[in-house]
């Protein structure tokens, strides 16, 4: 595919369960971002990967959140012991020329 692909597009989970969100970036893009967006609001930075450098994790809201990027391509955002306040749209973006970013459609996470 030509664009950033995220899966699943929607996820409903029970409070306390763990979830994994996946991001397939545009081929060849060395930078990858995760953002979180609440309804109608701006984007909250979570984490940034650039090549082989140590990721910028400064936006992760708690130690329940983690992300990895395997082989410099696919990334997974994991949220452990989900809480209702984790409900949001999680957006992934990739870039060949940071900070110009190309976003996926997002994963809408609902914690019930």
């Amino acid at each position: 595919g030509a664009g950033v692909s995220q899966s699943p597009s929607n996820k409903v989970t029970e409070k306390g369960k763990d979830v994994e969100l996946r991001c397939d970036p545009i081929s060849g893009h060395t930078a990858l971002y995760w953002y979180r967006q609440s309804l109608g609001q701006g984007l909250e930075f979570l984490i940034y990967f650039q090549g082989n450098s140590a990721p910028d994790k400064s936006g992760l809201p708690s130690d329940r959140f983690s992300a990895e990027r395997t082989g410099g391509s696919v990334s997974t955002l994991t949220i452990q012991r989900t809480q209702q306040e984790d409900s949001a749209v999680y957006l992934c973006a990739s870039s060949l020329n940071p900070p110009e970013a190309f976003f996926g459609q997002g994963t809408r996470l609902t914690v019930v």
């Binding site: 950033v4 930078a31 971002y33 940034y48 910028d56 870039s95 940071p98 996926g104 997002g106």
Partner: protein, 113 residues
């Protein structure tokens, strides 16, 4: 902490009117971008401005970066219903080598036919 404040947060206008959206900060950014987002979609990059005082035009949209690289504006001439959406400004952090983007809260634009 770098913050970006957008105004207005919500704008509802008639087709054909002009409008301006503002993006302000007390911090200097190395570059600033404008995105447009439609419901259920991710943001789509409209423009990047890099130089203080820079003006870029994209059809009916005019983007300006402040001389001090702390603020920006988006002006739409003769708005059309297709311009409806959430407009987001985003500044690239000036600290270190990170490509992290700081986003404003967004401006929801509704253009009525």
């Amino acid at each position: 902490t770098q913050l970006l404040e957008q105004s207005p947060q919500f704008l509802s206008i008639q087709e054909g009117e002009n409008l301006t959206v503002y993006c302000n900060s007390s911090s200097v950014f190395s570059s600033l971008q404008w995105y447009r987002q439609e419901p259920g979609e991710g943001p789509v990059l409209l423009v990047t401005v890099v130089t203080g005082g820079e003006v870029k035009k994209l059809k009916r949209l005019t983007f300006q970066f402040g001389d001090a690289r702390k603020d920006s504006s988006l002006h739409i001439t003769a708005a059309q219903p297709g311009d409806t959406g959430l407009y987001l400004c985003a500044g690239a952090s000036n600290a270190g080598n990170t490509g992290k983007l700081i986003f404003g809260q967004g401006t929801t634009l509704q253009v009525k036919p």
